[in-house]
């Protein structure tokens, strides 16, 4: 988030997302449409979902998603249709196939590994300090007043 938002830079023109005219009359279908479009990336924008992007293409895709839903597609079918057209780039949540398995397993794997190292650290007993020398013993006795 360094320069802040810079965040915002390049956001220009993407200020309006879902337009009133796009909304479906059936609330259940509309909810599904919103969920699907939040998981699809706008192909021409910088890291935005089509649900939040204001670009013309994102608007077209939102309408397309809704058309497929109205035509009776399941959520998975709509997503598969979009992936077929635009490639897996469009998925904001990458699937777990092939090399992507690494991505998904990285966290649990690292956790198990780190936990192992952590437990080893906790269990490891550093060498006990050497016993007191006679001189130190005498000094200690003196301090504690014996």
């Amino acid at each position: 988030m360094r320069a802040l938002a810079i965040v915002l830079a390049l956001w220009a023109g993407s200020l309006q997302a879902v337009e009133p005219g796009e909304i479906l009359d059936d609330p259940a279908l509309e909810t599904r449409a919103r969920e699907i479009s939040a998981s699809l990336r706008c192909p021409v924008c910088r890291n935005e979902s089509i649900d939040m992007s204001g670009s013309a293409l994102a608007a077209d895709l939102r309408v397309l998603v809704r058309e497929r839903l109205v035509a009776g597609d399941s959520d998975a079918e709509v997503v598969a249709f979009m992936v077929e057209r635009y490639g897996e780039f469009i998925l904001l949540e990458p699937d777990g196939r092939g090399a992507n398995l690494l991505l998904w397993l990285a966290a649990p794997g690292a956790f198990i590994l780190a936990l192992g190292v952590g437990v080893a650290t906790i269990r490891r007993r550093p060498p006990q300090p050497d016993a007191l020398s006679d001189e130190e013993r005498a000094r200690l006795d003196e301090i504690v007043g014996r």
Binding site: L4, A12, L15, E88, L92, P94, A114, L115, I122, Q128
Partner: protein, 653 residues
Amino acid sequence: MITELGHFALILALVVAAVQTVVPMVGASRGWRGWMAVGDTAAVVQFALVGVAFAALTWAFVTSDFSLRVVFLNSHSAKPLIYKISGVWGNHEGSLVLWILILALFGASAAVFGGNLPATLRARVLSVQGAIGVAFLLFSLLTSNPFLRLAEAPLDGQDLNPLLQDPGLAFHPPFLYLGYVGLSMTFSFAVAALIEGKVDAAWGRWVRPWTLAAWVFLTIGIALGSWWAYYELGWGGFWFWDPVENASFMPWLLAAALLHSAIVVEKRETLKSWTILLAILAFGFSLLGTFIVRSGVLTSVHAFANDPERGMFILAILFVFIGGALVLYSLRAGELEAKGVFGTVSRESALVLNNVLLAVSTMVVFVGTIWPLVSEIAFGRTLSVGPPFFDAAFTPFFVVIAVVMPLGAMLAWKRGSLTRSVWPLAGIAALAVAIGALAFAVQSGRSALGPVGVALGTWVIAGSALDLWSRTGRTGRFGRLLRLPRADWGKALAHGGMGITIIGIAAITAWGEEDIRAAQIGERWAIGAYELEMRGVTEGQGPNYLTTMAEIAIRRGDEVIAVVYPEKRFYPVAGAPTTEAGIDIGFWRDIYIVIGDEQDAGGWAVRSYVKPFANWIWGGAILMAIGGFVSLSDRRLRVAAGAARAPVAVAAE
């Protein structure tokens, strides 16, 4: 003329930084006091020179000197004064000068306030800090010089990106930089300690204030950025898992881990080599963030200066410093011997778990952020990693952190008793479950996220309160509460702030309401428990923009509780629009209204949202930062000065 003075000062600062790098380091290894002392003077002089350069650049922006390339590209004579000033760091070149200024500020503070450090350690810290300064001054002068003139001065500038013309720009980057660059101090301390081959309790005590300060600034910077995005972007999102946000989040997580492991070094003289590694990595992630933002290698909404040459330069800095430090670490870490012994159930173990969880969380963010790059280069697959992945992969670890936090915070050092710590918390757990159940009952038929988040937040908040209370003993508890060490208060405040943020995030995600419609003038509609009325739309003009402003009344029952004026602005010079949301801010909820385009069928597009507990997100973050400051003011850290000098005084007697 002033511009040339600034340019000259920046070049002079480079020379001074080079001296600061070489002379004290040689002095420290040879034991020459005079050479070591050069570091102090050089650090202060370097800061003064960079300050002159920064002031000269600011002057150019304020006076709208369009013969300067950066000013021409990023400013305009009609821009309000505050945005002329904050515009200094609203661009790559200027923000880099700010970065260097803060770097020099930290170096100078170490020279001025580091009187309690042993002379050799201080000399080495300043030398490493000087080396970082050399690298970034070279970066600025060679690839991103802000003082370049144009052959012919244009009549007016191209204006600053309108989204950046906001008070958010004035504060967000400076705080973020204070955090990023603050981590350079811990890095310098780590490298200096490796060179000296000595890490002890005193080192832990010296490095902790710097880490704490960096973490506090980073917390404020991230919270400000999130809040800014929330009110400025027009739909009330507060976190996007964008690469550039992740770039600031990773150092934050590692700094939090470092903060906790440095306590173990200080109190128990163990976990030393891990702490050193963390200090190196935390700054490494700071540099990585710089690389991500300024190279354009990852597609981000935060487009900045996408220039491959600059990217390569930062990558080189990253390799030299972090690579060098890691080599040094691998050579020396073996000499760092753990002293303290502790049982399996103990505060030390809890802090190890804290570090494991924070480090793995960082890993999740890191892997997700660079995966598109790795996948494309290594496997030829162009793909995206977005919020759904991070939500799924990151959240579990943070839930575990929240669950463990109150338990770990109450365990005793060395050898704790789980039963003794768990029993007092049973009541807290019951309270958390009850509040979660209440939330579940009230919400009726929505996802479990809200109730679980609220229960978790309650657990953390009440756990911190109990932790504080349990330290008061048996009699005169209120009096003792006030006299507890500030570090205890800081810890409770920061942990409690975390709980508040958790509640805010869960609630806004689970219980937000949204309405999108084409509203006619005079139309009324309901959202949540409120009724909104579109009263009218007027056109107007600001200092450097045109505006379309709506007037919308918010009713609860028959009573008008607020009137908000959402705006849609257009900046003609930059040719870009912005939205200014109309927000009725409240403790329990924000009502957030955005006006869009006029519709063909009449009326205006209006988006309205109820954002429950929105301000808890940033309120919690601010509380975390306050906790950090309170802890920073603890007597222990101030007294460290006297404690370090004491043995010398005794020897002299």
